[in-house]
Symmetry: D2
Subunit: 133 residues, 4 copies
């Protein structure tokens, strides 16, 4: 864990009402890499009792966004667009999104996230384009 | 509003804990078209006070999924993948996602959603691939 | 047809060796809207004799890129990313990609394209993020 | 190189007129992994003299499609949809697309491709959903 970066990510993270609502938690922060987890609860499910695609996506987007944030020299980050493939039902009790920067440019930062369950099985994969503002 | 389809969509909708959590509401149901809205609250925001990208995405995915559901003859629908472009900050008090089927196949149903604010301004655009199961 | 914009698009278009190779042709140019067509030939097919996904995609990307170009005040345009859904086999003798701007920002231009066959049937749908440089 | 799989991929590959047109070449075939390369020529460029996004995309799509093909037990493969981020101008003399399966299901196969230049620098990244038919 990079403590200086963790502190910066944490300060921004705490301002996000929605992350509190879904119970997202910072797991790790390194330069260009951030992982975020959450635990399943009934309030986060869809009609079959697994985590809603919107929850999985929000977690992946957050991990992507903060991985970009660690590479952006203090600038705030907005999501321009992302695409996610939902590979398996998110039936796990806890999922973690591992975000990483794959290209850091002056104008745009391109990121990816793997979302896995406790056993490391891949549940979803996101590619996201971020913009420093 | 197609009342028979509304009833079916509504029964599935009510099983989704996450849609209750974010306060999503069915606005309209026609064959191949479903619109879903939600109101902004502090619990749904990101660090700048606008709606979190994950909330906008969840709403768009839900509108896409249920538009596919109306075209799938009673089958349950899962999201295979989607891509969303976040075009403007979601600063509105209420947003609505208008989902529609653009290709209904036997194996896959491809959908789109426009997410707009109260004035009809486009906030986000999603393309989503759904699978009947 | 907007003749002044057509001339500018045409000058750039003619510099693209690849568009000559695949026989792409400008059909229409308006502000924020450009359509490009091509005719099927054996050199453009995949293993089943229909147009290769790469050809359909190149046409859609070109229509998106030039629609952004008409909105960018003379700046050159690069594709940041795009996503395409291939809805039907491209078995037609001629296909046309209709590109249009859906959000023109200072930093990024977001575009869409429908690719249709001669009867207007939708073959593919693209969303593309463009950057003026 | 898996020779048995290479032979099957090669037989399909040779039926694709478009791959011949752009000079694509099979580099490696393993179960779940296929790499395809091509050399830059003036006929493959866009207005700035670098490889056209459509060429980069066609190569990535082909590597994704054949990686899925190696995992599909002989079924033919069609591209359902893909998304590509174009990370750097494709100015290299030769580029290679490394496709791999990230989830092989009965109904759909999800794949990724990295496109790199001769030095291994990442030029583009694709995620593609394939369907066995």
């Amino acid at each position: 864990m990079n403590e200086a970066l963790y502190k910066k990510v944490s300060q921004s993270f705490e301002k996000q009402g929605f992350l509190r609502l879904i119970g997202a938690k910072i797991e790790d922060v390194e330069e260009g890499r951030v992982s975020i987890s959450l635990k399943k609860s009934d309030a986060l499910t869809q009609q079959n009792g697994v985590l809603h695609a919107g929850v999985v996506t929000a977690l992946a987007d957050t991990a992507c966004g903060y991985s970009a944030f660690t590479a952006a020299g203090g600038a705030d980050i907005l999501s321009v667009e992302f695409k996610i493939n939902l590979l398996r039902p998110a039936a796990a009790d806890k999922i973690t999104a591992f975000g990483r920067v794959i290209k850091s440019g002056r104008k745009l930062i391109v990121t990816e996230a793997d979302v896995t369950d406790e056993s490391g099985k891949l549940i979803a994969k996101m590619t996201a384009t971020m913009i420093p503002v």
